[in-house]
Symmetry: C2
């Protein structure tokens, strides 16, 4: 299968890390926007033994290479356009989060997707985190009984953010960009969908990062009755022991499971135990390729990607308007 790649603005590493496991994939084309680092992506490709053609135009790359899959990691505000151009050519899409910065762009992607048979995946990279992946297996196996309550946390170092993080029009907002992982864990662990959403945010004290929200919090009810909340911030100090303080705490009728510091803490009828998660037997990009090949379903599909993206954008809307959103009323 032929693969083309776009940019290295975010998690193009997900694609690159899987290529050694995928002899069936040939990386034939690269497109790098005018402000990302094509050199880096080209160098990484060459290290993996590929000599992709470098394009100055995304659509020209698709038309010339006619790839089976495109991996999109360019400007956030071009994700939607790039997804649409690929899907309408029947090219499978692996895209950095979020696939769309507006609900109308999301609808356009979904419409094109419905009209074809290409697959699409995005937003769910942290289902493949070792601790999250193993915790989810334990929950599926009934480790904590029926889920009642979820707390999901994303806390990042702010660092020096590029200019496109400083405008809503090029960034999309902290809830979709950082919070999408928290919302995805809530959807994935609960196995349900959002019923109501209420969210808050603050862009004050954001260290001169323009419109970037430095903190946000969200409260959800799920259709299943599960209660869930998310806490999102860029306030993790530079001297913290890791970039992100990703957490999930899930309380069920027969136990509480928590992912914190890359470990799993499980409290059940036997007491408390700390579990070191094994290395997952999946990686996100190869999982997507195997799904396309019909070998096994990936952890998420296009439908889940669309639902999650819509939830992120509606949560952002709730925070923007300080208003409660009922999904059933949409």
């Amino acid at each position: 299968m032929k693969l083309c790649m776009v940019g290295a603005w975010g998690h193009s590493i997900y694609t690159l890390e899987s290529l050694p496991d995928l002899p069936e994939i040939e990386l034939t084309g690269l497109y790098s926007g005018n402000t990302d680092s094509p050199g880096c992506l080209l160098a990484e490709s060459q290290k993996l033994g590929f000599t992709p053609h470098v394009y100055a135009d995304y659509v020209a790359m698709l038309d010339t290479e006619n790839p089976d899959i495109v991996s999109i990691d360019g400007r956030f505000d071009e994700h939607a356009f790039m997804c649409i151009e690929a899907l309408r050519r029947g090219i499978h899409v692996f895209c950095e989060k979020p696939i769309a910065l507006t609900l109308s762009d999301l609808e356009k992607i979904e419409e094109v997707w419905k009209g074809g048979s290409a697959k699409l995946i995005s937003m769910v990279g942290l289902r493949y985190d070792p601790a999250m992946y193993h915790a989810h297996k334990l929950v599926e196996q009934g480790a904590i009984g029926k889920i009642k309550l979820i707390y999901a946390q994303k806390s990042y170092r702010l660092g020096i953010r590029p200019e496109h993080f400083k405008k809503r029009s090029t960034y999309g907002g902290t809830i979709p960009w950082v919070g999408s992982h928290a919302l995805d864990w809530i959807l994935w662990f609960s196995g349900s969908s959002f019923e109501t959403i209420f969210a808050t945010q603050s862009c004050e004290d954001n260290f001169d990062n323009g419109e970037l929200e430095i903190a946000a919090q969200c409260l959800f009810t799920m259709k299943s009755g599960v209660l869930a909340e998310a806490s999102i911030d860029y306030l993790r100090p530079a001297a913290a022991p890791s970039h992100g303080d990703d957490r999930v705490r899930i309380a069920g009728t027969s136990g509480v499971i928590e992912v914190r510091g890359g470990k799993i803490i499980l409290i059940d009828a036997a007491g408390e135990q700390v579990i070191e998660p094994p290395v997952p037997d999946r990686k996100i990009f190869s999982d997507f390729v195997y799904d396309i090949e019909g070998k096994r379903p990936a952890l998420a599909d296009a439908r889940q990607t669309f639902d999650l993206t819509r939830a992120c954008l509606l949560t952002q809307k709730s925070a923007d308007e300080h208003a409660l959103i009922h999904f059933s009323a949409l």
Copy 2:
């Protein structure tokens, strides 16, 4: 000073633990409702060297003993009545949470309090927890800069709950009863007051505990701009290493501080450190007595008790009605 005590339904231990430090206090009267354990309270009093008179009627006790202070820990649904009867006699009130189960009862207490000079304190017992107390000192000293975001957690073992927990009319709800501590930490650490409240709850899967809510979550904005959320549950397994999993995580502009497992985790420009909190130099009941004596102000006063109780009851109302509450519109 003369002290009378009512019941041992909750935290009467707070009063008893301070008596050895307070030679100025004489415990002269006990009133025990018809379903609590007077024997236990009497036995504890006698161990401390007191021979209080035992009353079968609360008002008769107040009128006969005419105490300076009453410590109330009887039926939850009698707290308000007992506070009012004491305050209107000029007796200082130390009361178990919550002082009132309804907003109208709260207003009545406040009205009587305004008409006299007696002091009242309630609801703030966990400000005196060693880790919370020391973390608050660190925050006051600027350890994390300007506070942006707070997460407060109360997770209790359910155990076997007495009958009065199973009806809203005798219990008051999980948000006021368990959640009051979380709301108090939010008020105390932020140094602000609530601007908006939205809360959710669930009484399904409550192990046959009638109307008791097994889980609740709350999302707040504070007048100062701080974002805050609380997670409250009775889902801590019986085999967990402690009764409660009390936590606070506060992210500020120059650090993140967390209280978890009785320890303080501080991340700032110097990296991450775990701090073992010292034993506080205050206990809640002696602090109240010293406040009455004019020796030093306690950590909280009647005004804060009323504000916290009102916030708890409005948060409960938000969860009951699944509606956003704006304080400025009240």
